[in-house]
Symmetry: D4
Subunit: 256 residues, 8 copies
């Protein structure tokens, strides 16, 4: 662009010509341009590699490339063979695993603190999903309170679960089968609630379908839902809320 | 048959001929026969006239014919026009109505007592369905405890509802939308529970579909389900259980 | 609480202060409290361990812990490997198996008698489901009459099935494919009927979906339905009814 | 073609030229040609005018045109307004109506006899569908035995229904809700059975969906199904079978 | 019964007593009785053993028992292991196999001739289903014309298929994916048509669902449908029609 | 309770007796008790009266009762007749309406400020739903930025919509038909996003079903979904988040 | 921008400052900017106003505004009342209507010719949908060949339909019920085929669902599908293809 | 036919007799005839062998036969074992593979050029489907521009993808999960767009169902859809369009 401007100053181009060339330049590269302009506004959540369906070589290559760029890689739907392979290929890296989710990173400073998420499950079968979600959140700077197996068989269990998660900024509630736990909890607290149906259950409404429909039909206002088994999406939603809370506090601090 | 036997005695027929004629007779009339043999074993629940889709004349005619035979007629899915018509056509009869269900009967002795049913609804929108069910049960001799609008928004409501229906032999629980109330109550009592999804709710899982799937996926064992809005079926199921309980008591009394 | 009261008696606390402290105590521990208060009112059906999805270690650990507490453990969806493992790990215990359900218990007194359940299947393919249900019921004190393969191909078979189960307090009917058997039987008896669709059948309405819809649309009032293949739920429902019947008889005995 | 041949005879065209011109002619008009060739082999069932969605003028015009050509018109899904209009527009014609189906024809000779169809319904609500089917069949020459309201509530009813239709060559069975009647009857007779689900029933599997799935999952081999409420299709299927039977008899008579 | 009659003749019983005892006898054994009375009227189609889900021992035992009773056994959904086992266990029997269906029989007289069925498939993938159906029909006495792979890609193929099956009394048409072949053929012939959707196809409407819905929505009247992949049902339906045709011819012969 | 304590002080009751009586009292009234204990922790969102299905009298009565208790009533799914009636019955109250939602309140102080919500719609057909949501939020103290009709036809529109709502703490995005707007926006901002499918669209996936499934399958992590047309639920979810943000700020202020 | 450049020439701004200001300007207005840059590349299909759900005033206002801007307005799902209103409000404009679609325009030059589309329907019930599509295409410059009611009942009809549309560049085929026509035609021509399911048909697969699934499962490669009843989408797709063809010809002409 | 004509010339047959014999000949062989007449008008897309479900022998046999006839064979859904086998069996042939699609051909002249197709995928998981489609297109003479992984996470990616495919005559866009990419691109270009949902995604709307519904509900007119994973269908559709474009250009060249 400097060249364009100098040519203008030297009188080699008219203002119209400069404008037209700028347009053409923008037309040809406008998107990359926009990309840069918007980069700082992007979604603030890391890319997650979906391992299922990738060959071992593809996975290793994608992981290494992301690891070099970011030093912090999230991989979902990983199996034992692929996990073993990655441990061999990236011997120096720190690795954590929960459910079928794996985190690989360089030892380094802790992420900046973001607030606290209460992760509650109805049953033990929901735990692997909840663990995946918890690992992502912790890696991104959130505190996590885990309250597993506090489902609805007996009214006191949900109450105990809520008490355990009383200090959390947000609740993420995992439930399969009839999926009633988010309704119950929403009736007892005003914390933001993200409900995650898990693919537990068989027969009519099995594989999480009944839980999903229960959560979408929730008779207490304010329950937000992500897809069946979508642990990454639930974590992403929580991070968005925690960041908004933090921004709010920073604004307040700044204006104070 | 007397004729057959006499012909045999008189030697006009051989034993084989008598047997063969009896067979033919049974073959031709076996079903009516069976009908008589089994009549006393039948289902013990009155025929219910389905008004929707019947012309006013058809309804009046069917009602009168049943009224004359039984003195006690149940009509479901009735509307105001048809109700008015029946009131004109059967001026002397006693009439009761709940929801879209109507009972027409001769003044007469009360039915024999059958036991007690607790009818609980999650919301006020479920009440018309519950009222239909209650009316049928009362007409057939059951006591009914009504606990309406004890749904799950707040944990204390279901507890109060259960307390109110503590003395019932059976609970019938009506719920639409997310349909969580039967799960909750099943976790707190060992009473038999019949769950009735009501066609309340919109969007995904609306019209009672989410409630049905929640109830079928119930994570507490022992909840029995009837179809969406099936008040007659729920009443029929309760009557079967109450009769079995009564038979049990009579057996005990007899053997005591 | 004794301390609180003594402090009150000694005048160290006012009545208001005692009340407030009691409240705070209840608020903090109210749920455990409620748990105790309600324990005797709970659902009267044992916890069933769902083996599928648990690792062998998790299953052994959960089984041993429940075995030590209750001396009577129910495990569903078990496979051969896990069964073998449990037999090794709990060598002294008595073990029974039906379908994919296993019962492990200490030799001990028989459960108190509860009444009689007729278990009927339409075909031989339904038998493993029915056997699971029968084993649970027998373990919990019910008598079981088995009438397997009395499905509807030919009208006489259902009649024979009903005759066999004539003495039962409740019928549990298992059917896959078209699921017509409960309708048929409901038209011939006034016994309570719990219908269990089994995941038998292929093509449109396969995997038990047609059977479920047939049962929910049953044109004879009074059939109660549980989810496809839900043998534990059917047993739980029957136990609830048998207990209600027993309570009724005890009440009668007491008032006699 | 005569011209072509004469030109050939006169030597104006070679055999190759004739062949080529015939090909071209066939290519251009081959379809109309085929149409004529095949006309005698066509489906042997009259066109049925679908009234719903047609304007009154369109319906009158289509009806008159078909009436003039065939003297025998079938109209389905007709309502009162359109019926009245047609009665005014075609004053001399003979008219019959059943359900929402109407037949308009010139007085004339009876159709040739085709055999006998037994039309059975489970309930009274199925009758309008059955009546439509019966009217079509009678108009096309079949004898019809009607056995309405012989559904499954009580085992003797289906038996009586079957006895009534014993002499029929084919059975057409109409049932809504749980749709169990065809299964039952198929287990008791070896007559060909066409099952017609009717859009009766509400809630899960309502509008005939449960009946359709029951019939498709029928555990007795040999039940043939048409779509929900498809009275015209059922009649068409029966006519095909009756014609095949008649052809068989004619063949036999010819070879005798 | 002879005893009863003699006692009556000897005056040891009154007519009333004889009647009462007969009633009691019928009540207790009425169903077996009915069974005998109706046996000759039964469905005229052999029992088919469903191999899937049966253990090898169960299958061998069921097969042997049926083989001894009937000398003619049909087994569906068989796999290679079970086939090998049966060949070892029943070394002297004649065996045939098509698709996953197996027939085992004693050498003996051919079945009585029943008429002719045209079996047409749209593609080669439909052939195994068609072969199963053909084998059953041939075993039960029908002639079969096979016209495989005459699907709709190009209009001439269906025409050739129809020409090949011109002499058949009934057509059974197998098609997966879009399932258009029955519609096409129904528009060109007046033969009875049984349409069998096959579980061919993927994505939306895959596994035969699109084919089923096409066939049920068929815009030419008279196509009869069985469930997806239901080769046994299609054969059963054809046998019912062929038997009705034969009865018709016999009646004609008798009255001639 | 004061009485109990005094009786203890006077020595009329032992500590055990006091404890036992307290237990009994709690057992009998524990739920009301819990109710009070938890009341302050409840969900912080007003009850919304669902007008549809209520008679005019029922609606007026429910509205008046809630109006007297709270001075602030929310009514959803209201129609013109009922609106007119309420305006007559509550002449002094302030009334607002958006879509089918109505707010009735006493003139009084404004609610405490809660933060800011950006409400974005894809099309003009989504506006009535968005307006309902906006009205609830404003009534409860939130600022609302409205950006309607910024759907995806052209990439620049969503960008402009985002820019307009840049200052919001949360975005609520309404879209029907293909429902792609939330995916698009989630890829461009890290604000919390609540997606609301609207019942716009016809054919396959119509009535909001396609939009719902698009939103649940969103390929950018962090989109939270409520049911089709659930404007009240979306508002409730936003309020929960805004309150959590406010609590966070208050905590910070307190600790500062 | 001229100002910026002049300030630069005058030395008031450095090149860096100019670049920075341009960036900021682009960031703030980048979208409108992009909009202009891309406008010429946009989709080349007019906005269509969806009348359903709009109030009469909203419709008039939207129509007038679009009419003033473009002089050519398309309105879909219009009813008689709204049509009458628009005719009153825009008295000078030329108006055309087909099905529920209306075109309003200034008298002016014809659109540039675009090529030819063959529009074929299976039945008469599909005609209103086809007419809508034809009107849009004609208004945008396409020639249209209409071949209505050439459905599959009889093989010769589709052949005649194809012959009629032989000269078309693209075929759009409308079919409801079983939707087999596109399959048939795709097997006989290599023209591009856009299949439009219409919401014709009832029962299972009714409302166009069976037609949609047939078309998506089409066993002949190359059929492209739009949603049920989506006449606007089909026209849009055809226009895209015709424009691509024209571009191709222009390129050719230019290089020739 | 020559014989016929000569017999006519010799006067051995009248014109009527010749005509009649020609008719009879056409009737008997009309279809093969039509086949020849129409062959040149057929669909212009090769037969594709579906490997799945074929035995290795069947596949080899079908492949060899097609290879001998055409020298160019396409096989879909192939696995490694079958691929290896074919490589052994056809050692001299040229072989290419993409995804699960394989092409086998004789070395020979390149196909005639057809135009250019842009193939765009949303994610890397869509690539194998896109590769299959690209291979078919290239084999049939089309140029292919590949733009993989240009999905919607960030607005600039779709823009870059579009720019890359700017020169293409047609776009084929592959997307799973939420399937938003075709909507986005349709709003930015007027190129013809064929959208292919891929079976990527889990939970509600998984396996490509959400993507399919998004594409069918596309709010920008003109997107054409094929079934989930239907790479062959998408290629077939593109070939039809490219051929139509080529015909257009040839016509233009001819008339120029």
């Amino acid at each position: 662009m400097k060249n364009l401007l100098d040519a203008y100053r030297r009188g080699e181009l008219t203002a119209e010509e400069v404008e037209e060339r700028l347009m053409r330049m923008l037309y040809n590269e406008g998107e990359d341009f926009l990309l840069d302009l918007h980069r700082s506004k992007r979604i603030g959540f890391p890319e997650v590699i979906f391992a299922e369906g990738k060959s071992p070589e593809q996975l290793v290559s994608a992981t290494k490339s992301l690891f070099e760029r970011n030093g912090h890689v999230f991989i979902s739907t990983i199996d034992d063979t692929k996990e073993r392979l990655l441990r061999e290929e990236l011997p120096g890296a720190e690795m954590k695993k929960a459910g079928r989710l794996m985190v690989i990173k360089r030892q380094g400073p802790h992420p900046e603190a973001l607030g606290c998420v209460g992760i509650i499950t109805a049953g033990t079968a929901d735990a692997p999903y909840a663990q995946e979600c918890a690992l992502i959140l912790e890696e991104l700077g959130a505190d996590v309170i885990k309250a597993f197996d506090f489902g609805a068989s007996g009214m006191h269990r949900p109450l105990l679960g809520l008490k355990k998660a009383r200090g959390a900024d947000i609740l993420i509630i995992f439930a399969g089968m009839d999926g009633v736990l988010p309704t119950l909890m929403a009736s007892l607290t005003d914390q933001p609630i993200i409900a995650v149906p898990t693919p537990i259950g068989y027969g009519y409404g099995g594989e999480g379908v009944a839980a999903l429909s229960t959560m979408l039909q929730c008779c207490v206002p304010g329950v937000m839902v992500v897809n069946i088994g979508n642990t990454v999406g639930a974590a992403g939603a929580a991070i968005r809320i925690l960041k908004a809370m933090k921004r709010g506090r920073l604004d307040q601090a700044r204006t104070a």
